[in-house]
Symmetry: C2
Subunit: 124 residues, 2 copies
């Protein structure tokens, strides 16, 4: 289709620093009603992702360091990608969100399966 990731993604990104705690991650998800947080360096470079599922995993396994529960090999999207390509990646890896990065690997947005699902609703 002619719809690209940049047309659908949100530019409002709740990010978290690698030094933060798991409680901090949980608090940010609660306050912003989001389920995924890109982990970034001081220069906004993407180094990992932590989701509500990871917090739940930490409760099941009784661990508490962000470093232990975040995923470091992050699957990303580019703003110019077609939305079908983003949907295929999320299906292939059974994930529900992709940070969107520019050519310097800086996070400029996030696209989720919620955004793609919304495309089929009438009020577009």
């Amino acid at each position: 289709s002619d719809i690209h990731v940049e047309d659908v993604m949100t530019g409002e990104i709740t990010k978290i620093s690698e030094e933060s705690s798991m409680e901090e991650a949980a608090r940010l998800m609660l306050e912003n009603k989001v389920t995924h947080l890109p982990v970034v360096t001081d220069m906004d470079n993407l180094i990992g992702i932590v989701t509500a599922w990871d917090i739940s995993k930490a409760v099941a396994l009784k661990c508490s360091k962000l470093e232990e529960i975040m995923t470091k090999e992050v699957i990303v999207s580019k703003p110019g990608d077609q939305i079908e390509k983003a949907a295929e990646k999320m299906k292939k890896y059974n994930i529900s969100s992709l940070p969107v990065v520019d050519n310097d690997h800086r996070v400029i947005g996030i696209i989720t399966t919620d955004h793609i699902s919304t495309l089929i609703t009438r009020d577009i």
Copy 2:
């Protein structure tokens, strides 16, 4: 469209009983790689839903009873509903999954924004 919820939902439902603990909920999400669990009675009647976001909320607020963190007013879907109607409900309430119930309010499936996102991928 002509696509109905029953064509897209999964019939494999990981459910949890109202007497279970939060740790049990977290363990089920980890083992089954799911982010949402319908809470049911012994007769499979739906009485609530708990998601990975709720577990994360519990970590942020330091509470630990399932009863305290689950949502009791559950938004559901019917198998014969069109998928656009399900997508509109999930957008309206900012939720990512709907238990699918039969006329006796028994859970027979779950539809998520992941399922709807998958519809735009090529391999359908």
